[in-house]
């Protein structure tokens, strides 16, 4: 089955936007609708679209790493973000925050929950890609 030219052209434009949007959702999640889970689902639909237009081989080439590695990475990141709190003598998974900059007298903070959320993102995206690619190549 050869995908239509319209789909392929539109996909090129759309997928990059979808992926950027998914990262945006991930990062804004703490203050507005979004978060790691939703971001990963958006990214997953983006890649699903890409699979339909270009086939699974090109998706594998584009992401370069095995999606199962993404699952492992996400799990590791989530656990490490929990352990950081323990290193500070607090219970496992306690959120710690650091101010990294101050713009217009507003503090920009980064905390371990962000890493946790990135871990969630990686696991969910890794799972979706693992399953879709395996199904597609079956």
């Amino acid at each position: 089955m050869i995908p239509s030219l319209i789909l392929r052209t539109a996909t090129r434009l759309l997928v990059s936007m979808i992926l950027v949007f998914s990262v945006y959702l991930l990062l804004r999640g703490h203050n507005a609708p979004g978060g790691g889970f939703a971001g990963a689902l958006v990214a997953g639909t983006g890649f699903a679209l890409y699979i339909m237009a270009e086939g699974s081989e090109s998706v594998r080439r584009a992401i370069r790493i095995d999606p199962r590695g993404l699952i492992v990475f996400g799990m590791g990141l989530a656990l490490v973000s929990g352990l950081i709190g323990m290193l500070a003598g607090k219970p496992f998974l306690t959120g710690l925050w650091w101010t990294i900059a101050e713009i217009n007298s507003r503090e920009i903070v980064v905390g371990t929950p962000l890493f946790f959320d990135i871990g969630v993102f990686a696991i969910v995206l890794g799972t979706i890609l693992t399953l879709i690619l395996a199904l597609e190549e079956n």
């Binding site: 979004g34 978060g35 925050w97 871990g119 979706i128 693992t130 395996a134 079956n138």
Partner: protein, 753 residues
């Protein structure tokens, strides 16, 4: 590891790990002067303080005796195993298991909190499993490993129950505190239950009759493991337990009666069975069972000589039996067989190994000037001094020791002294590292036999006094004068010679006796394992028959029936369910959802049905959005989208699922009833939930703290990644597991195609 280090690199690294037991041994030895003076040391780290679980350790005479055995034998076993396993592809794994076991065993004998003791107890069981099954490509090996795991694991669970009951009865989980308040424990109503549970744990671990069958099977493990775990250390775990809890649970008639009878039966049955074996390791395994029985029997006693006998024999046995197992391993390694019928003339071709074997066997036979003799003397002294059943104890001890003397003869005379080898011919001597263990341990048996006062004052007596401080100190001596114990020793040797000469006839009798017993524990074990497997197959046939329909019926049916029942049962008054006033937009939405749901029912195309379901989901997402839940709506929409995509991919790849299959009328009716039931139930539940007033305290907490404590304005996300991140962690573990499991299933299908 294999990729970075060559074969020899791993072996060099493995040899270097011998430093770990050596250092621990030296550390324990340095504590001996302190513990011999009656001091004890305690270290506690809070683990789960809310439940009274502490990682607390105590070092006293008893712990030090065990720690010295564990690390001392561990050192020689490490050196030995490097050459024994030379060229094996899993050498690295072996040493990881070996040292992990050693540390767990040390934890077991040092733990002061019963629950941490239990954790170490189970760890030793697990590493024993891994080490018995080390040659996992052999089926016998796997089977034996599983048997040992199940038997000792079940005993471990019983022990946990015993520990918890003890905690309830005494109000503490610390052994040192239990000892202080143990005087009234034998009168406690829970005492009987505690005793049974602790006995089950100790008897399974220390291979007491009728649970002893796993130990001979555990000989599937490599020889150094048999020497270490299954003679010197792990099987002594139960003995340690009985000694450690002697001041807490001992002192009752039930304690003495059970231990003397079970121990005595084990000692005699084990030794009789050993007599008829032809495999060197099986001979040693059954004598180990017998020896453990003797220790158990003497721990049943209450007086100082009995307990000293148990502790002395513990050391005696650990030294000579680990040496003999190492010898058996050397013979197997050099000659290629462990069958005594095929071996011969080894004393000439392997003189160094023979020297170690002779020293250890003479200790086992209990000849004067060997440590075994000292152990036997004190044993008879203890047996004669017992208040309950002295005659029975003495008889069992004499018989078991006589049999062991005969077995020592069988071990030595056939393989080492008889003419030239019948099977393999003369074999070269093993290397120095392998011979060092039997030689040093054998030599130790002679050294301790000549100066027993030394080991008695520094190791044995402090061990006894550490759990019974009020008892008198029993001196170990080579010669006590002509007295009943000496006469009994002489009788034992004579009995041993007689049994050796009549071994064929005795064995014939033993075999006949075995045939007459209709049921033994090992057959009960086999039947139980087979029954569990059959149950598993039966329930798989019913529940997991591979039909998606069936799974869904079971899940949905169980939900409707159970939830519906508890809803109707628990409802006081019918909830006030009013029909809410809806705007035009909402009515339109409902119409779209209903139309899509109707399309699912009507259409024949599976693909169309999936898309229509997606529309239902999207409609619900819009409802969420209109009620001010953007996060929920976003997620719902995305999940619906992905579901449609994934299911479409699956359907496009599946053969023969184009148009839906025709279903029969009855089946349709059943499906319909279930679907309607589910829908009605869910609707009623949600309306009921809505009609009860909302408790806002949790919401208020999140609203007030979300930004101040967690730097986030989106409460939903703050809850997910911060306030309740433990839940999220659990969920992402589920997602990851499901993803990998799904991947494995898909891959497997592809392989089959």
């Amino acid at each position: 590891m294999t990729e970075h280090l060559g074969k020899t690199g791993i072996e060099r690294a493995a040899r270097a790990t011998g430093i770990l037991p050596l250092l621990l041994f030296l550390g324990a030895a340095a504590m001996v002067p302190h513990t011999a003076a009656g001091e004890s040391y305690r270290l506690a780290i809070a683990w789960v303080p809310g439940l009274g679980v502490n990682l607390s350790f105590m070092l006293d005479g008893l712990s030090v005796l065990f720690a010295l055995i564990i690390t001392g034998v561990g050192f020689f076993v490490t050196l030995y195993a490097v050459d024994y396993l030379h060229g094996h592809s899993h050498t690295g794994r072996f040493f990881v298991f070996l040292h992990a076991f050693m540390l767990s065993m040390l934890g077991l004998v040092l733990a002061d909190n019963v629950l941490s003791l239990f954790v170490f107890w189970e760890l030793t069981t697990i590493f024993s499993y891994l080490l018995i099954g080390f040659e996992h490509e052999a089926e016998a090996s796997r089977k034996s490993a599983r048997q040992a795991l199940l038997v000792t694991g079940a005993g471990g669970l019983a022990l946990l129950v015993g520990f918890l009951l003890m905690g309830i009865a005494t109000g503490t989980y610390e052994i040192s505190q239990m000892v202080a308040m143990s005087a009234s424990l034998p009168d406690h109503p829970l005492y009987g239950a505690i005793l049974v549970m602790v006995f089950l744990g100790a008897f399974t671990k220390s291979a007491q009759f009728p649970f002893h069958f796993w130990l001979p099977n555990a000989m599937a493990a490599p020889a150094p493991i048999s020497a270490f775990l299954h003679s010197a250390t792990m099987v002594k775990g139960g003995i340690y337990l009985l000694a450690r809890f002697h001041p807490i649970l001992g002192g009752s008639e039930a304690w003495t009666a059970v231990l003397v009878i079970v121990g005595g039966v084990t000692a005699v049955v084990g030794a009789f069975t050993a007599l008829g074996q032809t495999d060197l390791k099986k001979i040693l395994a059954y004598t180990t069972v017998s020896a453990l029985g003797i220790m158990t029997m003497f721990l049943g006693g209450q007086n100082a000589p009995s307990l000293t006998a148990a502790m002395t024999f513990l050391l005696v046995h650990a030294i000579y039996k680990s040496a003999l197992f190492l010898v058996a391993g050397i013979i197997d390694h050099q000659a290629g067989t462990r069958d005594i019928e095929k071996l011969g003339g080894l004393a000439r071709s392997m003189p160094v190994t023979a020297l170690g074997a002779f020293a250890a066997c003479f200790s086992m036979a209990g000849f004067p000037l060997f440590f075994g003799f000292i152990g036997k003397e004190i044993m008879y002294k203890g047996a004669l001094a017992e208040a309950m059943m002295p005659g029975l104890t003495t008889a069992a001890a004499v018989l078991a020791n006589g049999l062991m003397t005969a077995v020592a003869g069988i071990f030595l005379i056939g393989p080492f002294l008889s003419g030239a080898a019948r099977h393999p011919g003369p074999r070269p001597e093993a290397c120095a590292a392998m011979c060092s263990g039997p030689l040093v341990l054998g030599g130790l048996g002679i050294f301790f036999g000549i100066v027993p006062e030394f080991v008695g004052n520094w190791l044995v007596s402090p061990a006894v006094l550490s759990f019974h401080a009020h008892l008198e100190h029993i001196k170990l001596e080579l010669f006590h004068g002509i007295n009943p114990p000496l006469l009994l020793s002489a009788l034992t040797l004579a009995l041993g010679v007689a049994l050796y000469l009549a071994r064929k006839r005795v064995n014939y009798g033993v075999c006949r006796a075995y045939e007459m017993i209709p049921l033994d524990a090992s057959r009960v074990y086999d039947a139980a394992v087979a029954a569990v497997a059959a149950l598993g197959r039966a329930q798989t046939r019913v529940l997991q028959n591979g039909s998606l329909h069936r799974y869904f019926y079971i899940v949905a049916g169980a939900f409707v029936l159970l939830t519906g029942y508890s809803y109707v049962h628990g409802m006081q008054v019918l909830p006030d369910i009013g029909v809410p006033v809806l705007s035009l937009r909402e009515w339109l939405l409902i119409l779209v959802i209903l139309a899509a749901a109707g399309a699912v029912l009507v259409t024949r195309s599976v693909l169309l049905a999936i898309c229509a379901l997606g529309v239902v989901g999207a409609g619900i997402a819009v409802i969420f959005l209109s009620y001010g839940a953007p996060d929920l709506a976003l997620t719902q929409l995305l999940v619906e989208t992905l579901t449609v995509i994934i299911v479409s991919i699956i359907l496009l790849h599946l053969p023969g699922l184009g148009p839906g299959r025709k279903t029969t009328g009855r089946k349709k009716l059943f499906d319909g009833v279930l679907a309607v039931g589910m829908g009605v139930l869910m609707t009623t539940l949600i309306l009921t939930v809505l009609s009860t007033p909302l408790d806002r305290s949790v919401t208020d907490f999140f609203e007030n703290n979300s930004y101040l404590a967690a730097h986030g304005r989106n409460i939903v996300n703050v809850i997910l990644v911060d306030f309740r991140s433990m839940d999220t962690l659990g969920e992402i573990i589920v997602v990851a597991t499901a993803g990998l499991a799904g991947y494995a299933l898909i891959q497997k299908r592809r392989e089959r195609l």
